[in-house]
């Protein structure tokens, strides 16, 4: 993917309303999923996401133009971490969290059909460190570039590149080992 490609999934257009509505429609669920992973709790994730969108509405659109999705994820991450800090529990990715976060009915047909291959890939992703998981998801699930991930997570671009490289290498080896 070329670097100037809009990796965020929406770019603001002139009609603010259309932009907000579209952004919300497209990003509400992915953001909630991301927040739920950080928080380990889908309900509180919804609260955070709601808050993030309210902030987006107040934001001057010229400021977020072109990177609204990145902005949403960045603010979402800060809000989620604030919340965790406030509650004095920074521990994330608790055991069993995956089950609580996932909504098995969301896309039924699809999930069942490719379950075998994908479940094993997801399982392997689940074995990565929390930081690797977060970055891998931002990259391969949300389609952010290294630079965008760097801004969202406050890691350096080099650091993001290294984390992804290590994670992909580890997954590659693990997936190859799984093959019969």
């Amino acid at each position: 993917m070329a670097n100037d490609q809009p990796t965020g999934k929406a770019a603001p257009d002139d009609a603010d309303v259309g932009f907000l509505e579209r952004t919300f429609k497209e990003q509400q669920a992915p953001l909630t999923r991301y927040a739920a992973r950080l928080l380990g709790d889908a309900d509180r994730a919804r609260d955070v996401v709601q808050d993030v969108f309210l902030r987006l509405m107040r934001q001057d659109h010229a400021e977020v133009a072109g990177h609204a999705v990145e902005w949403l994820f960045t603010v979402c991450r800060h809000r989620a971490l604030d919340l965790l800090r406030k509650e004095g529990r920074m521990k994330r990715f608790e055991e069993g969290e995956m089950e609580r976060v996932t909504a098995p009915e969301a896309r039924p047909g699809h999930a069942i059909e490719v379950a075998e291959t994908q479940a094993s890939v997801l399982e392997l992703i689940g074995q990565l460190t929390p930081q690797q998981q977060e970055v891998v998801r931002l990259k391969f699930q949300n389609g952010f570039s290294y630079k965008e991930i760097s801004r969202i997570t406050d890691l350096s671009v080099t650091n993001v590149g290294f984390i992804i490289h290590t994670a992909v290498a580890r997954l590659r080896t693990a997936m190859a080992a799984q093959r019969p």
Partner: protein
């Protein structure tokens, strides 16, 4: 410019593979990659992994969220309506589901009119309301909308149905987005192929406009004409086997071959005004291209056999024996459900009207012939491999056809990775007792990837044990890798066809769809024992790469050919009757201690010419069954032979002439035409008439070449 090889631990390689580098860095990496095949392979592997991660992560369910509407609110700013607001107000307003009430209710007004100059109030209130709402049992998700009060009445119309529609729209949007992203990737890989100086891909990629679907069907827009000078097609060397003395070697053993690819390929050459290279002409595949009217199998046997002997037209003092096998016919209704995984090569080299668009056309034809309970999945492979369509029942044909229409060529080929994924999908959706088959559509240009051809063949061989069969359909020209494809099909319990046009696609995927999909017998072997009292020497015509050692016939561990429903297989033997001197003279001394190699006593003056033994296994069986058929020679002349026999003789002679075989005898192109005409029969499907046209074309080309 540095040409130092990359370390596999270099994060730059990953960044490059994922398209994360700036133009300058990217160019530098590409320059280094040019001389670093290991790093290129690593890039492909990283992309493949990335693609798998994307597929798996995309399947991770999204949390349930209620849809939301945003509406303009005069010039003051924007109001975002979250479902929680609605739930809260709705509770207060006695659970009324009409949005209008919420909008008009005092609480709602307070929220809606919250001035944007004091946004903090709105946020705080939101939190309070939301918390309260969660204490209540959550109502069914309802549409939430907010607008200026003046506009509110219009929103009354929103109903639960609208929510459903909206959800669907969102899902569709997400799908479209993924498709878009995939397309970007394809583009990037295409560029990459060009930059890497992959001559084959670059030559074929051409203008961007070619990617527009409308351009696919029209040759003219491509400006791409097959250049006879530039050709990297490969064919395995086919040594022609000569006569074998029956007294020394009375047994001839071979595995059947139902492939037809060579005929379609020869036709393609001739239609382009070129004579095919000798090694592209496999006579058994020419023979087996045509349907023959053989006796169907008796009882529940999967295989029937027909034998015939008459004079060999190109050498009238010799005899020609035809061994014909026919697989039991199975109708679409009778056959078990199919689980098909199409493995499609969408690499840059497939960007040609005779390749990917033809693959798409073929798929459409096939889907139309499948049963609603059959399943189809599509795996693509180019620079990275991916799942273009998860296993989908044919009852949802629209989805399958949409996925087919979405295929775009681009990138270089990593066949091994794709094959792995395709077999994984086939296994995941395995239908016990059904037809589980991977159908590989490619030009066979496996030029990138960690896997050597030997590894690839071993991989296929390994996968064939899982009960998933393989069909290989070859497409295109220019860099067609015939030898690889035939070997893959052979090792994968498969069938190999070459599709050079819509007509051929119709033959393989419509007229003979059940033969292509249903295997009625596997590991079918034929062993012919010649009676030395009647036969001085014999020659099996064609089947050069299908011959087996005589011990292999009874060894069930030895892999052999598969027979599809209704398929016919024809093998011809040219026989020098006892009393004549075989061509080349008696090369071997008579045995001192026994008349035959095994030392058995000579057959007691049997009048049989030969005895044919057939071994086959039921598709799921491990042990083989055996049938025997003796043949006596009534001394028929060629003119008295059946139409099928004459036609088969004509096709054989055609192949021998094209190969310029030393066994072509007295045959001329005119003879071939005459024999084929005599064997035209009722010519269902018009295949035999087409053959006549090809003979004329070959004769013409030959004349032109001789001048």
């Amino acid at each position: 410019m540095s040409t130092q090889p990359f370390s596999p631990d270099d994060p730059q390689l990953t960044a490059y593979a994922l398209g994360e580098l700036e133009a300058a860095e990217r160019a530098a990496v590409e320059a280094r990659l040019r001389d670093d095949p290991a790093a290129r392979a690593a890039v492909e592997a990283i992309r493949a992994t990335a693609r798998q991660l994307e597929t798996a992560l995309a399947a991770e369910p999204l949390p349930e969220v209620a849809p939301v509407r945003v509406a303009p609110r005069r010039s003051l700013g924007r109001i975002l309506r979250l479902p929680q607001f609605y739930y809260a107000t709705a509770t207060l307003a006695a659970a009324c589901l009409v949005v209008l009430v919420a909008v008009r209710g005092p609480e709602a007004n307070r929220l809606a009119v919250a001035p944007p100059v004091e946004p903090a109030v709105l946020a705080e209130e939101t939190a309070v309301m939301a918390k309260r709402e969660r204490a209540e049992p959550a109502p069914a998700p309802a549409p939430a909308a907010l607008a200026r009060p003046a506009e509110a009445p219009q929103l009354q119309e929103i109903s639960a149905a609208a929510v459903v529609r909206e959800n669907e729209a969102r899902a569709a949007g997400a799908r479209a987005k993924r498709a878009q992203i995939a397309e970007f990737k394809v583009d990037a890989e295409k560029d990459h192929a060009t930059l890497l100086g992959n001559a084959g891909s670059a030559a074929r990629i051409g203008m961007k406009a070619q990617r527009a679907p409308v351009a696919y069907g029209t040759k003219a827009t491509f400006g791409l004409v097959a250049d006879p000078g530039m050709n990297t097609e490969t064919y395995a060397y086919q040594a022609e086997t000569g006569f074998v003395e029956a007294a020394q070697n009375p047994l001839s053993t071979f595995a059947i071959d139902v492939d037809t690819a060579s005929y379609a390929n020869v036709r393609r050459f001739l239609n382009q005004g070129r004579l095919p290279p000798a090694d592209a002409v496999r006579i058994e595949e020419l023979l087996n291209y045509f349907p023959y009217r053989y006796t169907p199998p008796a009882g529940s046997d999967p295989v029937g056999i027909t034998l015939e002997v008459a004079a060999a037209p190109w050498a009238p003092d010799r005899r020609l024996v035809r061994v014909g096998l026919k697989g039991r016919e199975v109708t679409t209704g009778e056959r078990p459900a199919a689980n098909l995984v199409f493995l499609l090569d969408v690499s840059g080299s497939m960007n040609h009207p005779n390749k990917l668009p033809l693959v798409q056309e073929s798929l459409r034809l096939l889907v139309a012939r499948l049963r609603p309970d059959d399943r189809v999945a599509i795996v693509t492979y180019a620079g990275s491999s991916g799942l273009a369509l998860p296993s989908t029942p044919v009852v949802r044909a629209a989805e399958i056809l949409a996925a087919v229409a979405d295929l775009r060529p681009g990138g270089s080929t990593n066949g091994a990775m794709g094959i792995q994924l395709a077999y994984d999908i086939a296994k995941a959706n395995f239908v016990t007792g059904g037809l589980n088959r991977v159908i590989l559509c490619t030009d066979g240009d496996f030029n990138v990837g960690v896997t050597s051809e030997g590894d690839l063949v071993r991989l296929i061989e390994e996968k064939a044990k899982s009960g998933v069969f393989l069909t290989v359909l070859g497409f295109g020209m220019g860099n067609y890798k015939d030898a690889t494809l035939e070997r893959l099909a052979d090792k994968g319990n498969g069938h190999y066809g070459y599709i050079d046009g819509k007509r051929e696609a119709e033959k393989l995927l419509v007229a003979q769809v059940n033969g292509t999909l249903v295997t009625v017998a596997k590991d079918v072997k034929v062993q012919v024992e010649f009676n030395p009292a009647r036969v001085a020497a014999y020659r099996l015509i064609g089947y050069e790469n299908r011959r087996l050692a005589k011990e292999d016939f009874n060894n069930d561990a030895v892999d052999a050919g598969e027979l599809g429903a209704g398929h016919t297989v024809t093998a011809l033997y040219e026989i020098v009757p006892a009393g004549q001197v075989p061509p080349g003279g008696a090369a071997v001394d008579d045995l001192k201690y026994g008349r035959t190699e095994t030392g058995a006593a000579p057959p007691a003056a049997s009048d049989e010419l030969l005895n044919v033994k057939v071994r086959f296994k039921a598709p799921a069986a491990e042990a083989s069954e055996r049938r025997e058929f003796p043949l006596r020679d009534a001394g028929l002349g060629f003119a008295a032979a059946s139409a099928d026999f004459k036609f088969a003789a004509a096709v054989t002679s055609f192949g021998q002439l094209l190969r310029d075989s030393s066994y072509r005898g007295a045959a001329t192109w005119a003879d071939v035409t005459a024999w084929a005409r005599a064997g035209l029969g009722d010519d269902a499907g018009g295949y035999r008439s087409e053959f006549l046209a090809l003979v004329a074309q070959a004769a013409e080309l030959n004349r032109a070449n001789a001048q």
